[in-house]
Subunit: 426 residues, 2 copies
């Protein structure tokens, strides 16, 4: 018997076993379509392949960088940014830096002039390495940031700059590949058949995460476990497909917004990675659930009112990790002016988990369908699993919606308008 790492339960979804079962054949058909396709499906078996060489290369670079630098600046946007940032935030301390890594900061994911100016000041008293990540090199935000930082590194380090710039890009083509060849930068390769939002388990995510102190071996082990377990074409055994079917069913019932919620604030960026994965994969042909997210209990006091009693347009996906490293026990206070002595001796995480239970019950009673996704522990292994789980669910979900999970034609529209405006004002 398979014990699933992601436990899926439903509250108030009004879904019968029959509602799910009826997808069985369609799911199996799509499963084999995806398995047998070679069109941007490289991520499906990537964790099952041997990456010993890659891990060795990353470890060697890590040893060098941790010895010679205080900070790694990662230049990237979209799929070349959100995944690494998400996992880093989830697994590094709220204050300060992970004991097994150095500081990793991000630029090139927007075009704020204030941010660009300030980051250069910030770097001035630190030793720096750069990792620029772009499949093509043609996206404006990271290209502009790299133009600035490349010159900065060359002025500051002279000939040594070439050793302090690491490029992650397509193995064969693109502007950035050409630049790397001309300059002689060391390179990591982005597999051509893996798109940005499915790339966090490749060097796109692995290298920055290693530098930030994350155990990428464990991270990949989790993904590998998921890639094995979720290869099962049978809906009854595949929790990722079950999640895809549940959200498709709720969408067809008329819900238009899926709200991903969790109770650990370090998961905020992980939510944003999830939003991009589903929003960019499904939001086309005037279809798709609008993906959005909240972090509780902060947002229970902010957006909770709307969830409980506002327009009945949304369902909630509650993501919960049972074991979170670091906790604090509520102290006894003989004054008891706050009336909270009945909680003395319990831990914050324990009370937080109760708050999660209370929220699920209250929202379900308020008429909101709730999907609960539970995992044992918030660590690299489980996040690796969960990332693969969501990617697999997303590909299935988009296919159920009859849209292409792997393109993003709508993102080009604003780029085109912007270029027209920039060129006309020359």
């Amino acid at each position: 018997m398979v014990t699933h790492l992601v436990q899926t339960t439903l509250l108030n979804c009004n879904l019968e076993e029959h509602d799910i079962d009826q997808y069985k054949d369609q799911v199996k058909e799509i499963h084999y379509q995806l398995e047998n396709s070679s069109n941007m499906t490289g991520w499906i078996d990537y964790p099952l392949q041997n990456h010993d060489e890659l891990f060795k290369q990353i470890q060697n670079l890590k040893n060098e960088i941790c010895a010679k630098a205080d900070v790694l600046v990662v230049i990237g946007i979209d799929g070349s940014f959100l995944g690494a940032r998400a996992v880093q935030d989830a697994l590094t301390p709220y204050f300060g830096i992970h004991k097994n890594g150095i500081e990793v900061i991000y630029v090139g994911h927007h075009m704020s002039g204030a941010y660009m100016k300030q980051i250069l000041t910030y770097l001035s008293d630190k030793e720096v390495y750069i990792n620029v990540i772009s499949k093509s090199g043609g996206t404006m935000e990271p290209a502009l940031a790299f133009r600035v930082l490349r010159q900065y590194m060359e002025e500051r380090y002279g000939e040594e700059a070439v050793h302090r710039i690491i490029v992650t890009t397509d193995p064969e083509k693109g502007l950035l590949k050409k630049t790397a060849d001309l300059a002689g930068y060391r390179r990591f390769e982005i597999p051509p058949n893996i798109g940005g939002r499915y790339s966090v388990l490749t060097p796109v995510g692995l290298f920055p995460l290693a530098i930030a102190g994350i155990e990428i071996g464990q991270f990949m082990e989790g993904a590998k476990k998921a890639a094995c377990e979720l290869k099962d074409p049978d809906l009854a055994n595949n929790h990722a497909y079950q999640y895809a079917v549940m959200r498709n069913k709720l969408y067809n019932k008329g819900y238009s917004v899926e709200l991903l919620a969790s109770f650990e604030p370090s998961l905020k960026k992980f939510h944003e990675w999830w939003m991009q994965l589903f929003g960019e994969s499904e939001g086309k042909e005037r279809k798709g659930l609008f993906p959005t997210c909240v972090t509780y209990s902060t947002d229970l006091h902010a957006i909770g009112q709307f969830i409980q009693e506002g327009s009945p347009i949304l369902f909630e996906t509650l993501l919960h990790f049972h074991d979170i490293e670091g906790d604090y026990i509520v102290p006894y206070d003989e004054r008891n002016e706050d009336g909270l002595n009945y909680l003395a001796g319990r831990s914050f995480n324990e009370i937080n988990a109760t708050s999660k239970q209370g929220t699920a019950l209250a929202h379900a009673e308020g008429g909101v369908p709730v999907i609960q996704l539970e995992m044992a522990k918030l660590d690299a292994y489980h996040l690796g699993y969960l990332i693969y789980f969501f990617m697999k669910a997303c590909a299935m979900s988009a296919k159920l919606l009859e849209v292409n999970p792997f393109d993003q034609p709508g993102v080009e529209a604003y780029k085109k308008k912007m270029l027209e405006l920039l060129n006309s004002s020359q």
Copy 2:
């Protein structure tokens, strides 16, 4: 002639002048209802009142705290947290601390045990003051955090702790008021007729912001200007009411999500304040636009696909500041491997503004209604104005929806469930 500080324009909203005008009488009626009500409407005239004494008290405390502490820890949740945090993030540097203030960090807005443990370690080598903000003192998240930090301060500072804890609470009643009296803590008062999400212009926001280095005099001046200008009952002259009417009209046309977007990442928390204001004020009786937010251009590559081509359920409110402090000029590079020399000499903020224009055009052409809100400058004065603008628009908008802008009955549901669970597990 009044020159409005917030410029409102519409793209692709299919709203005729007539659609707006027809609200004229209803708006005037609600305006006078609000003006003449004494039920939680204290925020309407608060900026017009004399606050010399309050500002003097804040300045004195600021002098003391900046001399004796490295960090102010603010304990609060919801309306006692989001406003100050929003303005602080918008107006302090991306890296490091404002030159006119000290570090201000927040706790008690959630129940993560990891965060609580880490914050105490973080504080161990810094001199600390505490500001605990709660109208009642009865909300669990800040009450638990205060219980921990109060004991921490007493153990660390002994008798001096009483001088290092500042309380912001109701002037007469509540658990926290009682504690402040018993212990002899210095106090700021939250006016009883101003609710949490309308309180950032009171000591709730003013005190932490002053410590963080924000010019709260300018901030209040901006709010005062808004309180004067937006007292006009005539829809034709009142841009806040126009915004309220536009969103009501779009809601009635069937849009269910309002997406607030801007191009400066420091505004992320400001968006969250806005989400809370509108979500908690309007989301009741199964009504209301679901408020959500994005920061561009990061999210143009993430959620932009959905906006451009996904389910047609949303309209976009683009918030833009023309002048943002700090900028960087794109350098010329003779290699021009990235092909971007045509942008050399232009500034990042200029290109970012063009990206804003391109986005508005692309989304409008894609069929998304766009409301543009433009302000001259991102500074304390203009943010003070904008905050008041949104509060006035929100009260009007909720009244147009025929719900109470000032209550939040749905927030109690999860609290009740949580307490039941906590008590049953004793």
